[in-house]
C-alpha cells in the first residue's frame, strides 16, 4: 500500500488577500452610503418603539383581511395563467435548438431581456396608469412578470432536451409547430409545470408589493394601515401573509415532488 500524499499546504496569501478584499469592499461601500455604527445605535430606540407598538397583532382585524387577501390570490392566479400561456411561445423561440432562424431568436431573446430587466413594480405603475389603479393593473403586471420568469427558465431547459424525438417528428413529414408540440414540449412539460408553480409562489408574494403602488390586493390594505400608524394591524397582515405563503409553498412543493 502506498503512503497517502502529504496534505497540500493552505494557500495563506490567497486566503488573507480575499478576506482583506472583502473587508475593504464592505468598508468602502458603507462609507459611500454614510453608514455609521454610532448613529445606528443612537437611533435604535426609535426602532424599539416601533416594535413595541407592533405587538400584539390585532386579531380583531383578521376578518377584514379576507376580501383583500382573496383579491391577491385572484391577481396571482390570473397573472400566472395568462403569463404562463404567453411564456410558451416566448420560451420556445428563445431556445436555440427549436427557434425559427437567427433573426427571430435574437429578437425574442432581447424581448425577454427587456421584460426581465424592468421590475414588477415598474409594470404595475405602467398598467395602473394605463387601466387605472386596482387589481386589473396588478394582474396585468404579474402576467408580464410571469412571462419573464417562466420563459427565461424554461427556454434553458428546452435547450437541454434530446433532439431525437423532434427529428423523428420531422422525419414523418411534420411541420415546425408539430415538431414543437409532439417532439419538444412533452420532454419539457415537467419543468414547465414546476416553473409555473414557482411563478405562482412569486406572484403571491409580489402582489403584496404591488398593492403599495395601488395595484390592488392585500398590499393596498397594508399600505393604508402603515400610513395610519396602525402597526398592530400591520403585524397582523404580515403574519397572515406569512402563513398563506408558507401553505402555498408547501402545496406547490408537494405537487412538484410528485412530478419529479
Amino acid at each position: 500500500m502506498s503512503a497517502a500524499p502529504p496534505k497540500p499546504a493552505r494557500n495563506w496569501p490567497l486566503l488573507i488577500g480575499t478576506l482583506g478584499f472583502l473587508v475593504a469592499m464592505t468598508w468602502w461601500s458603507g462609507h459611500g452610503i454614510g453608514f455609521s455604527l454610532s448613529e445606528l445605535l443612537c437611533n435604535l430606540t426609535g426602532g424599539q418603539r416601533l416594535l413595541r407598538e407592533s405587538w400584539p397583532p390585532d386579531f380583531a382585524f383578521l376578518p377584514r383581511l379576507y376580501g383583500p387577501f382573496m383579491e391577491t390570490i385572484y391577481i396571482a392566479i390570473i397573472g400566472t395563467v395568462v403569463g404562463g400561456i404567453l411564456a410558451i411561445p416566448v420560451a420556445v423561440l428563445a431556445a436555440r435548438n427549436l427557434t425559427l432562424g437567427k433573426v427571430v431568436w435574437f429578437a425574442d431573446r432581447n424581448f425577454m431581456n427587456i421584460l426581465r430587466t424592468l421590475p414588477d413594480l415598474f409594470w404595475a405603475m405602467m398598467f395602473a396608469a394605463a387601466v387605472g389603479f386596482g387589481p386589473v393593473a396588478g394582474a396585468l403586471a404579474l402576467s408580464v412578470f410571469t412571462i419573464a420568469v417562466i420563459s427565461k427558465l424554461w427556454s434553458e431547459s428546452l435547450e437541454a432536451i434530446d433532439m431525437g424525438m423532434p427529428e423523428a417528428v420531422r422525419a414523418v413529414g411534420g411541420t415546425w409547430l408539430q415538431m414543437i408540440q409532439f417532439g419538444a414540449i412533452p420532454q419539457g412539460l415537467q419543468h414547465y409545470v414546476s416553473y409555473a408553480l414557482y411563478a405562482f409562489e412569486l406572484n403571491v408574494r409580489a402582489s403584496m408589493v404591488l398593492g403599495l403602488v395601488g395595484a390592488g390586493g392585500i398590499g393596498m390594505i397594508l399600505e393604508t394601515q402603515r400610513a395610519n400608524f396602525e402597526y398592530e394591524r400591520v403585524t397582523m397582515i404580515i403574519l397572515a401573509v406569512l402563513v398563506a405563503v408558507l401553505i402555498i409553498e408547501q402545496i406547490s412543493e408537494s405537487i412538484r415532488k410528485r412530478l419529479a
Partner: protein, 264 residues
C-alpha cells in the same frame, strides 16, 4: 399496397459535413421498389448518412437523390414534408414520447396525413385511428395500445417505432441501426418483423446493420460502404468473408457478429 412505388436513385451523390468529414462520396446507386437492402460498414462509413439523405434529414453537397423519380428537395418546406410522408424511419433509440400511450406515439406517423388543427387538438379521424391500430396489429402489440410507452421493454418499444413508420403507409422504410440497443433474441424478432413486413406489404426497406451475420441472414441485397464510398453491392447469398474484409478494411472479430459461432 405500394406495388410499384419506393424506388430510390442516387446520382453522383456527395455529402461533406461542415467539419470536413466525408459522409458520401460519388455515390451512384439504384434501389428497386420492394427490395430489402442491408447496408453494412464500420462506424463512420456513411451508413446513416445514406439513409438520412433519402428523407432529407441530411442535405446533399452535390449530386441528387430521387425517390420515385422525384428529386428529394434540399430545403425545408411543403415539398419535403410531402416526400417524408411517404418515407418511414426507424431509429436505434426508438424515439418515442415515453409519457404518452403507444397509440398516441403511433398516431404521430399520421401527422402529415391529417389537417393540422385535428392533430393539434388530438381529434384524430376514425380512419387514421384505424390505420394506427392496424399498424399495431401488424407488429403484434395491439394489447399494448393504451399503455404508456415508458412501460414497454426495448423490443416492444422498437415495435412501436415500426408501427409508427407503418402508420405513415409508406413506400419506403429506413431503419437506422434498429437492433443496436436490443438483446440477441429480440434482435432476431425485430429483424424477422422487418423482413415479414417487406414481403407482405412490398415496402422498400433499407436497414443499417453493423453485425455481419445478421446482414447475411436477413439481407436480400447487401451494400457495403467504406469512408462514404460504395465498395460492395451484391446479393446476400453470395457475399463471402473476403467481401466483408474488403468492406471493413480489416479482419473481423466477435464484435462484428451477434452470434459468436458465426465467425468462419
Amino acid at each position: 399496397m405500394n406495388k410499384n412505388q419506393g424506388s430510390i436513385r442516387f446520382t453522383d451523390g456527395n455529402i461533406v459535413y461542415p467539419n470536413g468529414t466525408v459522409g458520401m462520396k460519388d455515390l451512384n446507386l439504384e434501389i428497386r421498389p420492394g427490395e430489402f437492402v442491408v447496408i453494412v460498414g464500420s462506424s463512420g462509413a456513411g451508413k446513416s448518412t445514406l439513409l438520412r439523405a433519402i428523407n432529407g434529414l441530411n442535405r446533399m453537397s452535390s449530386g441528387t437523390v430521387e425517390v420515385d423519380g422525384t428529386i428529394v428537395p434540399q430545403k425545408d418546406g411543403r415539398e419535403l414534408r410531402l416526400l417524408r410522408k411517404r418515407v418511414g424511419m426507424i431509429f436505434q433509440d426508438f424515439r418515442l414520447v415515453k409519457r404518452l400511450t403507444v397509440m398516441s406515439n403511433v398516431l404521430i406517423g399520421r401527422l402529415a396525413h391529417v389537417p393540422g388543427w385535428r392533430a393539434m387538438l388530438n381529434l384524430w379521424p376514425v380512419h387514421d385511428r384505424e390505420v394506427a391500430m392496424k399498424a399495431l396489429e401488424r407488429v403484434g402489440i395491439t394489447e399494448k395500445a393504451w399503455v404508456k410507452a415508458s412501460q414497454l421493454s426495448g423490443g416492444q418499444q422498437q415495435r412501436v417505432g415500426i408501427a409508427r413508420a407503418l402508420a405513415q403507409e409508406p413506400a419506403i422504410i429506413l431503419a437506422d441501426e434498429p437492433v443496436a440497443s436490443l438483446d440477441p433474441v429480440t434482435t432476431h424478432q425485430i429483424m424477422k418483423d422487418l423482413v415479414r413486413i417487406n414481403r407482405e406489404l412490398g415496402i422498400t426497406t433499407l436497414v443499417n446493420l453493423h453485425f455481419l451475420d445478421l446482414a447475411r441472414q436477413y439481407g436480400q441485397r447487401i451494400i457495403g460502404l467504406r469512408y462514404g464510398e460504395l465498395v460492395y453491392d451484391g446479393s446476400a447469398a453470395n457475399v463471402t468473408d473476403e467481401d466483408f474484409r474488403d468492406i471493413y478494411g480489416r479482419d473481423f472479430t466477435e464484435d462484428d457478429v451477434l452470434d459468436e459461432d458465426a465467425i468462419g
